[in-house]
């Protein structure tokens, strides 16, 4: 028996408007409302709606045996709710059938997994809640942005409680192995990994309408025959693709919907073929081996690596400048800033800065609103420059209010005062001897909360002054559902204790 596992990706970013240098500090509307509205409506009408309706028809027609999966980014859901609620309604109907699995991903379709475990976690959580609130389902399977995966990312995903993850069946990773089996993460065999069969997936997603392809035109019969021609021992055929394949990338006129409609029937006529969702595949099949992925892979381009989003100077600069803001954004406690912070993380912005013009340039060009990667970079950096100003302003305001009241009353004459910290960052300047005395008096739980998501330097410095037992107790007391306010308060306790120490010792 072979399982056919369909998963469709739904994502639309918030595209940026032309944001000029002159706008920095003056305008904070970053998105091209008109274009975004136009695109989401167009894609909803040409692709999402007709495809959803067809899926509902197919479920009606074939009953329980037809099963599929979707992953829908949070930013796409937001835009659909606002612009095309009928699409959300039809996804809800699909959810109600119980034959459709909704996967977890990052809310913003971001690359956070490559940069910040804490932000990655936050976004996955936000997405999970969004799916729960809209479709009343609990996502159990994880698919990362662009199917990005590595051993280390797999571990992060496992630590978040997922036991199944999807990625690309990249040739350079598989070698002689086939993607048509269930694998496990090489560090943690409890995380099962499903690999995309890119040959068969791309037959539909990329080659379907290509008249120069020797297998054109592709029919449901032909496609099923290709599946039947796979080695008999293969257990699963993972067909992963963008949902826009239906009606947008492949126009209706190419016959893509007819193909989609005919396929389940042809599949189900075969006794040894069945449809399964990713979660079902992971549950039913026995893993055959571990898959070693030391460097991240993705489903993009010929290289199946990250170079579409990261790697050139432009992308790296933009990416690093964005993520340098993480801590401050968290402490701002401002909904609008948090939203922008997420929207600006969408992988698409970095994709537009890609300078690989050759082989895959055509695909890049098609989806790219900019004339050149340089223009994309300039525009993005202008927006980021404004965003940095907003974050700094808000952050500084919240820092001022959180300063201890008694600080201003302190006399200025003592030379020792210089070392007194204004912010948590300033603890770097406080002598270790002082820190040791102060931290001794605080509970491990407080310390754990204060030290959550700090930068390494400050973390190392504080931990180096603590006793072994404190460090262990702190690790055992790892905060659950820590809010930014909790952390801020915990940090304030440390700062206040330092002041108190100086107060006592300066006289």
């Amino acid at each position: 028996m072979k399982s056919i596992c369909f998963y469709f990706q739904v994502h639309q970013p918030y595209r940026l408007r032309t944001y000029r240098f002159f706008d920095i500090g003056r305008r904070h509307d970053y998105y091209d409302e008109h274009q975004n509205r136009y695109i989401i409506n167009k894609v909803a009408e040409k692709s999402y709606l007709p495809a959803n309706n067809m899926m509902l028809d197919l479920i009606k027609k074939h009953g329980k045996v037809f099963r599929i999966a979707y992953s829908i980014s949070g930013v796409a859901l937001e835009q659909l709710e606002r612009e095309a609620p009928q699409v959300i309604a039809s996804f809800k109907k699909l959810a109600e059938t119980g034959q459709v699995e909704f996967l977890s991903e990052t809310y913003a379709h971001s690359l956070a997994s490559l940069k910040s475990p804490s932000e990655f976690k936050r976004q996955v959580e936000r997405h999970k809640q969004k799916i729960k609130s809209l479709f009343n389902v609990e996502s159990k399977t994880f698919r990362n942005t662009e199917l990005i995966y590595s051993d280390a990312i797999g571990k992060q995903v496992f630590d978040m409680g997922y036991r199944t993850m999807l990625t690309e069946g990249a040739r350079h990773v598989l070698g002689w192995k086939s993607p048509d089996f269930l694998y496990v993460n090489s560090n943690n065999p409890k995380l099962k990994v499903l690999l995309k069969n890119f040959r068969l997936s791309d037959d539909i997603a990329f080659r379907f309408s290509d008249r120069s392809w020797d297998e054109w035109p592709l029919t449901a019969e032909k496609f099923v025959k290709k599946i039947k021609n796979l080695p008999p021992e293969d257990e699963v055929v993972n067909l992963f693709m963008d949902y826009e394949t239906f009606g947008e990338h492949q126009w209706k006129e190419t016959g893509i919907f007819d193909f989609l409609y005919a396929l389940p029937e042809k599949v189900l006529q075969e006794k040894d073929l069945q449809f399964r969702t990713p979660a079902e595949v992971a549950k039913e099949l026995q893993p055959v081996s571990a898959i070693h992925v030391p460097h991240p892979i993705s489903w993009a381009d010929e290289e199946r690596d990250l170079t579409a989003w990261l790697g050139n100077e432009l992308q790296d600069e933009a990416f690093d400048k964005l993520y340098a803001l993480e801590d401050k954004v968290q402490q701002c406690n401002d909904k609008k800033i948090e939203d922008d912070w997420h929207y600006l993380q969408s992988s698409d912005h970095f994709y537009y800065m890609c300078t690989k013009w050759f082989s895959d340039g055509a695909v890049h060009h098609y989806f790219n609103p900019y004339k050149s990667p340089y223009e994309a970079f300039i525009n993005y950096m202008n927006v980021i420059s404004d965003f940095i100003l907003r974050v700094e302003e808000k952050f500084n305001a919240s820092e001022i209010t959180s300063q201890p009241k008694h600080k201003k009353e302190q006399p200025q004459e003592s030379g020792r005062r210089v070392a007194q910290p204004d912010t948590f960052q300033d603890l770097k300047k406080v002598p270790k001897k002082v820190l040791k005395e102060v931290l001794k008096g605080l509970s491990p739980a407080t310390l754990a909360m204060a030290l959550a998501n700090t930068d390494n330097e400050i973390y190392e410095r504080l931990v180096s002054t603590m006793g072994k037992r404190t460090v262990k107790a702190m690790k055992d007391n790892k905060p659950i559902n820590l809010t930014a306010t909790d952390r801020k308060n915990a940090r304030q306790i440390i700062l206040d204790s330092v002041f108190d120490y100086y107060d006592m010792h300066s006289v």
Binding site: D23, R27, A318, I384
Partner: protein
Amino acid sequence: MNVLMFGWEFPPHITGGLGTACFGLTNGLAANKVPVKFVVPKAYGDEDQTNVRIINASDTEVTFATKMVRDYWNYISYVEVDSKIIPYVSPEDYYNIVNSAEKGNETSENKAFSGKYDFSGKYGKNLIEEIMRYAIVAANIAADTPHDLIHAHDWLTYPSGIAAKEVSGKPLVIHIHATEYDRAGEANLNSQVRDIEQKGFDTADKIIAVSQLTKNILVTKYGIPENKITVVHNAVVPQEKTIPDAERGIKDKVVTFLGRVTYQKGPEYFVEAANKILQRDKNVRFVMAGSGDMLEKIIRRVAALRIADRFHFTGFLKGDDVDTMFALSDVYVMPSVSEPFGISPLEAMRSNVPVVISRQSGVSEVLKHALKADFWDIDALADQIYGLLNYDALSTSFKKYGKQEVNNLKWENAAAKVKEVYQSVLNK
């Protein structure tokens, strides 16, 4: 003293500094009571003719051609023109021009020597052909138009000046605004253009150079005797419109580079100086306003230096955006590698922006209230920019005296010097 002047463009139809300079000069000459008949390849009818009579070469019937023109014609008829020779054109325009080229490309020789020829008046692909046709028409104009001397601006019009001199026998004054060495650099020299320049300099009775820097190039690179060249610095037309009061969105001070992003303008030195300053002081922003063949390289460099959140690009600016940019700027930097004159620092100073300019610019010869550094001396550039940003006394006095200084650079005075040159050739 009647002057027959050959130009390539005249406001409002200009693509670069040459037209603006010609406009200023003819107005200045009028103030010195020197009447000028100004010939352009193509007149549009809306030129400001208060102080000058515009002759449209496209309207002139051609009835004969001089031997010199025939020689030139034979020369060019077998020389293909490559397209790196275009002066004074923004890269955008250049791109459009080159891509829309070929129109009206009538190459039949008979046509060239009779009837009217409709010039494009642009810097096109078949530019040299146009220049030579212009010379043919110029000879006819010189025969029909009474004049005492001929004045030709830059290499585009030198063949016309020479042809006119051949017909009328009047003295020829050649004005040099930029040489091929400035535009292309020694390595990428276009020999056709250089040859035309050389012939112009050799044939001229007197030469006017826009700076001592340019004069030196003529002496060393073209072998022209020093006493044949007079330096007359350019001036500026007083600012008439009021500067827009641009709202500042950012608190940080702004340092601006405004110009073509090409080798000649030294943009990479601006980036390196910016990086030095940002290592010291984060509260500054740098803006590169303009476009050109080095822009992508510069953007990559800025990204690699990790300063892209402090170093911004605006693309090509024109009209009000230029004024807004000046209004937002605290320091203007022109680190040109080779700048025969360089009018943009004067525009900045006119807008109350202190300037740092390279010593390798003609304008540095006339300005006192500007900081000057060698273009390659990044430390000095950085130091001077930092000084203007942080020491208020410096910027305050530069703003105050700089504006006065610029307002004293009048075309009337420059034209008086040109008039002296005219007199010297007429009295010969």
